[in-house]
């Protein structure tokens, strides 16, 4: 038996090697590199001290973790949940509508961002429409800044959240809604008390995934934003440290901090999920 058991583990070896080489090894190597600042001999936390005492770096961190992560994901969720709710049932044309919402998934990030850039730039349709309608006189500055990055990120994030949440909503037994209605619940009360609580685990998962994707945002912040200043993200910082300044040690410091925050979020999320699963043994 013991022999069989250890043979069983052997099957995991290829994936173990693969995982170790491609994931663990670079991360450890990167972390070690960050402890060897340029010009200093031996181990040192100087890069980390530098990172956390530089207001520019801290602003980048805040923009990445808070604005790109929390703000964008929250807005996206607010857009996606009602959309998915309305499109959760079959009706004429629902497939077409669902396809339209998830369309941005079909093309690469650069194209998606460019579409938003063109649509909301000074000569884009949106501004032209507002000017023609006489609502504004001069075009609004919607791209090349904070707003641009937020708009482009939402545009790319909504489809991912949508597919996730739609699947969760569609799997809720429709008789639960009917039961709630016969007990006196209006549509809003059905949503608040039945549908939303039942979809919450999926909504959280979608939110976390959305957060992590946005958090590692690079192209969007570069094209639609103001990458030198307001919309600088950790990825842009890492890239510049590595390939403009050739300070690989600082670059790996930035990526290590970024990875640490990402892992922390995942860890907290998985712990929460486990607790929810242990408490409510429903479903």
């Amino acid at each position: 038996m013991m022999f069989l058991k250890s043979v069983g583990f052997l099957y995991l070896l290829p994936i173990g090697i693969f995982f170790g080489c491609l994931f663990m090894y670079p991360m450890i190597e990167g972390f070690l590199l960050s402890l060897h600042p340029e010009g200093a001999g031996g181990l040192s936390f100087a890069n980390y001290v530098r990172f956390f005492s530089d207001p520019r770096m801290l602003r980048t961190l805040r923009f990445t973790a808070f604005d790109m992560g929390v703000v964008v994901t929250t807005i996206s969720l607010f857009i996606t949940i009602p959309l998915a709710y309305k499109l959760r049932r079959k009706f004429r044309g629902v497939v077409l509508l669902r396809t339209l919402v998830s369309a941005p998934l079909g093309y690469s990030g650069i194209i998606a961002v460019s579409i938003v850039y063109l649509a909301f730039s000074g000569w884009g349709l949106f501004n032209l429409f507002l000017m023609r309608a006489g609502i504004i006189v001069r075009p609004l500055d919607l791209v090349g800044n904070y707003t641009g990055v937020v708009l482009a990120s939402i545009y790319q994030q909504v489809p991912i959240l949508f597919l996730f949440i739609l699947a969760a909503l569609a799997s809720i037994d429709p008789t639960l809604e009917e039961a709630a209605k016969t007990l006196g619940a209006s549509e809003w009360q059905v949503f608040k008390r039945i549908i939303f609580p039942l979809a919450l685990p999926a909504v959280t998962t979608a939110g976390i995934l959305g957060y992590i994707t946005n958090y590692s945002c690079y192209v969007t912040a570069l094209i639609a934003g103001d990458p030198a200043y307001r919309t600088r993200t950790l990825m842009i910082e890492a890239y510049e440290q590595a390939y403009r300044r050739f300070d690989w040690s600082m670059a790996t410091t930035v990526t290590t901090i970024s990875a640490a925050i990402g892992l922390l979020i995942f860890f907290v999320y998985l712990r929460l999920q486990q607790r929810v699963m242990r408490r409510g043994s429903y479903g």
Binding site: K181, L183, A185
Partner: protein, 323 residues
């Protein structure tokens, strides 16, 4: 009242129309003298127990039952009292903190019932609530539902495809087929005096003999079927002399006699096969006309295969059906 019929006959749809979950394409629905067609389901004051019970999986038993009360902004203490009372009625005290997934089928069914009756609705609608339970539990719950109904006296509409359930639980049965009502009547009427062939077959009549009405007196009917004159008791329906009819009778209401028995109400035939079933025996008899009849007699076999027999069609048990 019970809607009874085979699956797909429209009984559940009718029930859902009463609840407002579906809109009727024609016709009007009244609660007392209030027209309900335009009233949305959450304002109808109905209790609905679904076939799959539709308990909210994320809420405890107590929260499930309290759901409707909370929406009606009933005071906390009052909710607690009424939830306890409803759970007592369905004999589920002590299960307040459980989640639906931690209950057996029968218990879930009771929660669904408690959740509906706690609101003391104008109408209680039950959509095959027992069909997901095993046979033994179904029998128990049937009796309990009957008692509960007698306690609460809420107007109840019950949907089922099980004739036994309908007979036990109803004051009135509506038998439906393919969206059309076949018969409305008390369980005794529907069971003994089916209005047509479909109802008769659905209510368990096994034997149908086509015939012609020979005479129709005030109390007695004379019908010629299978070459024999049958004297029958008159039902609620009017029959004309010369009308083509069917004589229907259940297998266990036919009496088996010696093969040469003469006279009215005796059909002649030959035992084709027999099945011993413990406390009864099922005979398949081929009549002289070639028609098959099934007969059930108490006790072990008394006739053999190939033996000539006579079938006594009792005037009290047989019923006439219009074609």
């Amino acid at each position: 009242m019970t809607f009874l019929g085979p699956s797909g006959c429209g009984k559940t749809t009718t029930l859902r129309c009463i609840a407002g979950l579906e809109l009727p394409t024609a016709g009007r629905i009244f609660f007392d003298d209030r027209l309900m067609n335009e009233v949305p389901p959450h304002k109808r004051d109905v209790g609905f127990v679904f076939q799959n019970w539709a308990l909210f999986p994320h809420l405890t038993v107590a929260k499930n039952v309290a759901f409707g009360l909370e929406l009606r902004k009933v005071k906390k203490a009052e909710i607690k009292r009424r939830v306890r009372e409803a759970l007592r009625l369905v004999r589920l005290e002590g299960f307040e903190k459980r989640f639906p997934a931690q209950l057996s089928g029968g218990q879930q069914q009771r929660v669904a019932l408690a959740r509906a009756i706690v609101l003391n609705p104008q109408v209680l609608l039950l959509d095959e609530p027992l069909s997901n339970l095993d046979a033994k539990l179904r029998k128990e719950m049937r009796a309990e539902l009957r008692l509960l109904h007698e306690d609460l006296r809420i107007t109840t509409v019950y949907v089922t495809h099980d004739q036994q359930e309908a007979l036990t639980l109803s004051d009135e049965i509506v038998l439906m087929r393919a969206g059309k009502i076949q018969q409305v009547g008390t369980p005794v009427q529907v069971y003994n005096r089916p209005a047509n062939h479909f109802v008769a077959e659905f209510m368990g009549f096994d034997n149908f003999f086509p015939g012609t009405v020979k005479a129709a007196d005030s109390g007695e009917m004379l019908v010629e079927a299978e070459g024999v004159e049958l004297s029958l008791r008159r039902g609620d329906q009017e029959f004309k002399v010369g009308e083509e009819v069917e004589v229907a009778i259940r297998a266990h209401h036919i009496k088996l006699g010696a093969g040469d028995h003469p006279g009215r109400n005796f059909l002649k035939g030959r035992v084709e096969a027999l099945l011993y079933q413990g406390d009864q025996t099922l005979y398949f008899v081929e009549l002289d006309s070639g028609r098959k009849a099934s007969v059930v007699c108490e006790g072990p076999p008394v006739k053999q295969r190939g033996e000539m027999v006579s079938l006594y069609i009792s005037p009290e048990k047989a019923t006439l059906i219009k074609l």
